[in-house]
Symmetry: C2
Subunit: 258 residues, 2 copies
């Protein structure tokens, strides 16, 4: 592998030059996903710098999410994550009537092994933003369903649904298994025919807790999608707050020009 040398006259500090060398080796394809980078000791020798300087170069690539360090083994070029593409018609009624929860059906079709765990169901007071979206009064309670989605045993999303308690109480929504078609099918069973959803999409770095639950490496952001479901009467019936590992997703939306 071609690494070049440091130019001490260059305005850029040595650690950045080393990072640039490694980055372009990756971009050129000299280092492929899964390949090990030169060890810190090798970089130290090759460039004649202190170990901390070599480490800082690697740190730069880590924070860009391009490489992953594994204690005792080495630093590796990040493997591209298998991507889930979320189409804009993923909540179409036809999928719901097919009789399987959205995630399981879709993943199975895409050839990955889906799973859901860490299912927790609760009743509590909603966070302020959820209360506002559901247009609830000060002391209204909500049903809270949280769960984690995995694809091929790798966690890719944590989701929390909030529903006005009167809508959920006494239905399978409060059970671990919500039955065929999931929450939305149960809402329609109860007469709340769904009309449309509004999704609000943002991205940020994960909190420490999210990094743990999603098993995220350094330098991996999350996509946050907050979806509000409205019935045909225009009443918001569910808010679903999802945090997704960003590299694992492409969200697709269809927008009419009207």
């Amino acid at each position: 592998m071609q690494l070049g040398d440091i130019n001490r006259q260059d305005g850029r500090p040595p650690s950045r030059q080393i990072a640039d060398h490694l980055r372009s080796a990756i971009d050129r394809g000299d280092l492929l996903p899964g390949d090990r980078l030169p060890s810190e000791a090798e970089l130290t020798r090759h460039y004649s710098v202190a170990r901390m300087t070599a480490r800082q170069a690697i740190q730069e690539l880590r924070s860009e999410g391009r490489v992953v360090a594994e204690h005792g083994r080495g630093v590796f070029v990040r493997m591209p994550a298998p991507v889930r593409r979320l189409a804009s018609d993923r909540f179409a009624r036809k999928h719901r009537e097919a009789g399987q929860a959205a995630f399981l059906a879709e993943a199975e079709k895409a050839g990955v092994h889906p799973a859901v765990d860490q299912i927790e169901i609760d009743r509590s007071a909603p966070p302020a933003d959820v209360r506002e979206r559901l247009r609830l009064a000060e002391d209204d309670q909500v049903a809270v369903r949280s769960r984690r989605y995995l694809a091929d045993d790798r966690p890719i999303e944590v989701a929390t649904s909030f529903l006005p308690l009167p809508l959920a109480e006494g239905t399978a929504i409060m059970e671990a298994d919500t039955g065929p078609g999931g929450i939305y099918a149960r809402l329609e069973d109860a007469g709340h025919v769904l009309d449309h959803f509004v999704e609000e999409v943002t991205a940020r770095m994960p909190t420490a807790d999210e990094r743990r639950r999603l098993e995220l490496a350094d330098g991996v952001p999350v996509l946050v999608v907050v979806r509000t479901a409205y019935d045909t009467a225009g009443v918001p019936v569910e808010v679903c707050d999802t945090v997704k590992a960003a590299p694992a997703y492409v969200l697709e939306y269809d927008i009419p020009a009207r």
Copy 2:
């Protein structure tokens, strides 16, 4: 400000404990946005650690995007960014007919000072993914319009539009000023009435170049939105590749339940 002490018996390394102290001081509100953190020297004295240890704690918060270091001044709790909310009807014809480019009109209304700079217009062969989206042949050329958007003099987005060259050549699309209603109005002038758009949304860490153009601090991800515009004949007429500073945006989409 209450900082506590390091517990050397604790399994967690000192640098992480210091980071936790600072993080909870921010969460508690002891440190408000814009406040200066204790300097490295102060942390070094308070915790009796080496300066590199204090630095590493700060580095952790930087990579989470919670604080911003300013050379010669100090480390500050990040100010919440002014947020642009992109509604799902932002490409509705009514806005176009109002006769102002989408971004300028909307920003002005939101009370921020908008600007566009770094406008570059070119003709070239398209990248592979763009060629595919526009359904072009191997050696077709495209018009390329790239520009940078600023709000209150802070860069928040860089965008590059690709159009089949025959559609753009000879129109104001190849001029710096595309005229009232922007690119989309010019396409409709030319008989390509717009029918719908498809947006693909992902998030990732910025490249070094993007970090510079968007003046992003460490630990700030970008939202990437690739929009394809289709005319009423179902022909893709434009691909717009946008890279947005994530903290500055909320994308909103309306999805019919169908």
